[in-house]
């Protein structure tokens, strides 16, 4: 209201305020408009088993009153207090911004109370029911960071943190000359407060020395349940200052709980010294150990320390409170400003997570190599910061749906098939060069269904296309947004390298045409530095990001898997490859030229991935095993002592090489196999440039476990530095964050 907004306060009087004419008058005076509906008493029924259904507390009388109000006033925004009244949001037009102020997380609240031996009270429900409430809002207000994260995990709607705002009112510290330390507690008589105080008192009375040096002062309705002559009970106090003037130190021994603890905030707003358990300080910007005690016993330990030296310790704690207060106030101001800006502009762009769409024809959640893991890594990097969805060119059948759900991608993967039938009459004109160069990938219905989908959804801030052959779909975006092409490889130079070796590539394109296609995008992603430099020179007006393949790097110092694999008497080397001609050529060369020499020792060769299909008709030694495609390559890497990559041509970055070093495996690679890995020779890689060097490298590693260990360490450290998920995709995450 101080920002100039006119506010109708609609009170559903569950607490019987209507009988207090002073309170009614005060509210009538304060709000622009005040409407009160008496609470209609009736027996509530649980519709969700032993939990409340989300609308079980929403009575019909509220509904008709709100509908009437909504008709009378042209509201810009509506704020609903508590999830159990969220049905009210559904009664307003779609142009009204709907805000849900949650106060507390209600999911699993009953379990939390029962865990502490208390009967569930107030409102408690399940995450599914709470999600229904959240999905009714445009903006959800969480009272602290942990609850914001929880709400974000169950809804796609915009969630922001809004703490409890207060006026700062610093109280001077008391002189503390009474000989005993006056310790204060303030609270209502709810079950969790009572239980917390009981635990504290039990701990306190067990320490005889401490008991004599402490005087406990309690205020609030909790006094009604205290029957102990050693405790000074003030009862309900009109003015908090009267309570704080009676004490030297405030405590909050809360044993568990959700939300933000208003009583801790009471101490904070007065800059008062306090000690509290971690649950009592949730949501406060503090790392002071006395503010975040691990247990009530730990809190009493600190109390004992303070009692011994109050002259020094109390000013220290006062200072800690003031620092925390300053940070909290700054944060609250920022949060309030954000909310006010929303109300004045009726836009939540500054609060919401950016929306990103990934367009691909690769079922990356299924077993595969190279491109599969590249796209999955990209998705993982994006989903932590943004609302990311995937438009997938493929069908989804029951088995596939199960795999999608198992991969945590439920509601994330959207099949174009869902939009195909209604997209037939949508207009779509593909870019000529892009479609002509990828005729085998061009399908008009792909473009039409994407256009249809984008037309039905809220706007995406960025759309990322996977691979050059889907570049023609860029024309399907019906509005101005950031279009990004993840190239994986520069195709023209790749074709050049293959042509020198007499190999054909699936995608044939001249550099001029490739540049013409890339030029249409706002941002180009290169997979390695050299290609990024080329793109920067070829496309000086475009933003080029270098995002190498991101992997989750092995964390052990000497990977247990390495030790495990070495228990076997044979030295195991592995090759991982998809079904491309380049991979088949490379492993055939190895089998023909290297294997006959190195097999004389106790060495096994294990081959993984679709490349095995190209070797099925070849007669192989008993020490060569074709494993085919595995559900997870982790098993493959765990099984081998070293990995080879004798690839001769290609381009981009060799994902299998990156994954090998990320798994802490020594890698023997051709120069092409190590392209894109900086300082390969000190990154756990032996570069072999000829048959002789390959043979030497295999024999060297097979006979020298210490060298394998050293290379393993080097590999992990290099992978962490160059290819960790956060490092690899940080330029893209930064760019999307800057939109």
């Amino acid at each position: 209201m101080s920002a100039g907004h006119s506010v109708t306060f609609f009170l559903y009087d569950q607490e019987g305020v209507i009988s207090n004419s002073n309170a009614i008058n005060a509210m009538r005076e304060f709000w622009s408009e005040f409407v009160i509906i008496p609470h209609k008493k009736f027996k509530r029924k649980k519709t969700n088993g032993r939990y409340w259904g989300i609308d079980d507390w929403f009575n019909e009388d509220i509904e008709s009153a709100i509908k009437f109000l909504a008709l009378q006033n042209n509201y810009d925004a509506v704020i609903c207090e508590y999830v159990f009244l969220s049905k009210a949001l559904t009664l307003f037009d779609k142009h009204v911004i709907k805000i849900l102020n949650c106060h507390d997380r209600m999911s699993n609240r009953a379990d939390l109370l029962q865990r502490n031996g208390l009967l569930p009270d107030f409102f408690y429900t399940t995450p599914d029911q709470e999600k229904n409430a959240l999905d009714r809002a445009d903006l959800i207000l969480a009272i602290q960071g942990d609850e914001k994260c929880f709400f974000q995990s169950i809804t796609k709607k915009c969630v922001v943190e809004l703490g409890h705002p207060f006026d700062v009112d610093i109280i001077q510290l008391n002189s503390g000359q009474t000989g005993v330390l006056r310790v204060g507690y303030l609270g209502s008589a709810n079950s969790l407060n009572i239980k917390s105080l009981e635990v504290f008192l039990t701990g306190l009375w067990n320490r005889r020395d401490l008991k004599e040096k402490v005087k406990l002062v309690v205020a609030g309705n909790i006094c009604k349940v205290i029957d102990d002559p050693n405790i000074k009970c003030l009862g309900f106090v009109e003015d908090e200052r009267n309570f704080f003037n009676e004490i030297d130190l405030f405590i909050n021994p809360m044993i568990d709980g959700t939300g933000l603890k208003i009583k801790t905030l009471s101490a904070l707003r007065h800059g008062f010294p306090f000690i509290a358990t971690a649950p009592a300080s949730i949501g406060l910007p503090t790392s002071t150990p006395e503010h975040t005690c691990k247990s009530v016993e730990n809190l009493i330990d600190y109390l004992e320390e303070i009692v011994c030296n109050p002259q020094e310790r109390l000013p220290e704690l006062r200072n800690a409170s003031l620092i925390c207060l300053e940070a909290y106030k700054r944060r609250i101001d920022q949060q309030i400003n954000g909310l006010l800006r929303l109300l004045s502009t009726r836009s939540i762009a500054h609060l919401r997570r950016k929306r990103v769409l990934l367009v691909t024809d690769i079922p990356f959640w299924e077993p595969g190599v190279g491109s599969h893991s590249r796209i999955f890594s990209l998705y993982k990097a994006l989903q932590t910061e943004f609302d990311c969805q995937v438009f997938f060119y493929g069908s989804i059948w029951p088995d596939r749906l199960e795999e999608i759900e198992n991969s945590g991608l439920k509601d994330i993967i959207i099949s174009y098939k869902n939009y195909e039938s209604c997209a037939i009459n949508v207009s779509f004109h593909a870019d000529e060069v892009a479609s002509a160069r990828a005729k085998w990938a061009y399908h008009e219905i792909f473009g039409k269904s994407l256009a249809q989908f984008l037309g039905e959804q809220d706007r995406y801030d960025a759309v990322i296309f996977e691979y050059l052959w889907l570049a023609y779909l860029r024309s399907a975006i019906p509005y101005k947004t950031i279009s990004i092409l993840d190239t994986h490889d520069l195709m023209a130079p790749r074709e050049y390298r293959c042509a020198i070796q007499g190999l054909r590539t699936r995608f044939s394109i001249s550099l001029m045409d490739e540049v013409a296609i890339l030029e249409k995008f706002d941002v180009i992603i290169a997979i390695q530095n050299e290609e990024a430099s080329w793109m920067e020179r070829l496309l000086p007006s475009k933003i080029v990001l270098c995002c190498p393949h991101g992997v989750e790097v092995e964390n052990e110092t000497l990977p247990g898997r390495l030790k495990l694999s070495r228990r076997n008497k044979h030295f195991r080397i592995g090759f991982v490859g998809g079904g491309s001609n380049e991979n088949a050529e490379a492993i055939r060369w190895f089998l023909r030229e290297i294997w006959p020499v190195v097999r004389q020792l106790n060495i096994e060769l294990h081959i993984y991935g679709n490349v095995c299909e190209k070797l099925r008709d070849q007669s192989l030694d008993s020490d060569v095993t074709l494993h085919g495609l595995l559900a997870s390559l982790d098993v493959a890497y765990a099984h081998c002592d070293a990995i080879i990559n004798p690839i001769m041509h290609g381009g981009g970055l060799k994902i299998k090489s990156v994954e090998a070093i990320a798994h802490g495996k020594p890698l023997i690679a051709s120069p092409e196999g190590a392209v894109g890995i900086e300082n390969a020779e000190t990154s756990g890689i032996i570069i072999a440039r000829s048959r002789g060097e390959f043979i030497n490298a295999v024999l060297r590693l097979a006979s020298n476990p210490n060298e394998c260990d050293l290379m393993s360490h080097q590999a992990i450290s290099a992978a962490k530095k160059q290819f960790s998920l956060s490092a690899s995709f940080s330029p893209l995450v930064a760019l999307l964050g800057s939109l």
């Binding site: 800006r341 929303l342 004045s344 502009t345 009726r346 836009s347 762009a349 500054h350 801030d461 101005k480 947004t481 950031i482 130079p493 050049y496 390298r497 020198i500 070796q501 706002d522 941002v523 050299e530 990024a532 430099s533 080329w534 920067e536 020179r537 000086p540 007006s541 475009k542 933003i543 080029v544 990001l545 270098c546 060369w589 030229e593 001769m648 041509h649 051709s670 120069p671 092409e672 440039r689 000829s690 048959r691 330029p731 930064a734 760019l735 800057s738 939109l739």
Partner: protein, 247 residues
């Protein structure tokens, strides 16, 4: 001629009976002509060589016959040597080319200035379609422009503002470059005007792009001023220019 009945391939005597018959029968006959031809040629060559040798040896004495035989055997050995050498050359191992030379990319050059025409193709979000005089920001409450990074150093920034949809939007509008708020001065009251300032981009900034963000405290539709336009607008920009300041 007798009529042969071959099911549906029945033939009439009025047609070329012989050719029809062959074409009908051919798919069922295995003519191994290649093998017969090879065998015939082998026989002819062997017979010719035998005749030549008989001719060379028949009219000479014993010593000449020995000399002739030695010469013939020597020729055969030499021929076998050449054949073997050619075969070995064909199957000799050669290293694959592991080092295919691709030209190294030239050094990236960061320009000293950039001029963004807001009427052209821009990279950014929350901008309406271009108009002859510039481009409106909207419909959300923040707009951004991204462009390839310039080099580190000090730059003068000039933002040409054509108009604002409501009073005070430009004056209350934080503008951030790479996340830091810019101190901008307005060239004059009224519109069009320029927002001018200086910015120092430190060497610690390593991202390959720069980002300029505009935050609005108000949005309005022209319809609220009685015009038939429902777009939610903030400000209209004409161009943005960054020029390196030479120290």
């Amino acid at each position: 001629m007798k009529l042969i009945n071959l099911g549906k391939f029945g033939m009439s005597k009025h047609k070329n009976d012989r050719m029809d018959f062959l074409s009908a029968v051919e798919p069922f006959v295995d003519f191994e002509l290649q093998a017969s031809r090879r065998m015939f040629i082998d026989k002819v060559i062997v017979a010719r060589c035998r005749d030549e040798l008989i001719e060379r040896l028949s009219n000479s004495n014993f010593q000449d016959q020995i000399n002739n035989l030695i010469e013939i055997i020597s020729e055969m050995k030499a021929e076998m040597h050449y054949l073997k050498a050619a075969y070995l050359e064909k199957v000799r191992y050669s290293e694959p080319d592991f080092n295919i030379a691709i030209p190294k990319p030239p050094e990236t050059i960061h320009p000293d200035a950039i001029d963004i025409d807001m009427r052209g193709d821009i990279t950014g979000v929350n901008w309406w379609h271009t108009e002859p005089t510039g481009r409106w920001a909207g419909p959300e409450n923040q707009s951004s422009i991204q462009f390839p990074a310039l080099g580190q150093g000090k730059y003068r920034i000039e933002i040409s503002v054509v108009s604002e949809i409501d009073d005070g939007i430009v004056d209350d509008m934080p503008v951030k470059l790479n996340g830091s708020v810019l101190m901008l001065k307005r060239s004059k009251n009224g519109f069009p005007c320029e927002l001018v300032g200086e910015v120092d981009v430190p060497p610690t900034y390593r991202l390959p792009f720069w980002s300029l963000k505009f935050e609005f405290g108000k949005l309005k539709t022209p319809r609220e001023n009685g015009l038939p336009d429902d777009r939610r607008l903030a400000i209209m920009l004409d161009r943005i220019r960054l020029i390196r300041v030479v120290v």
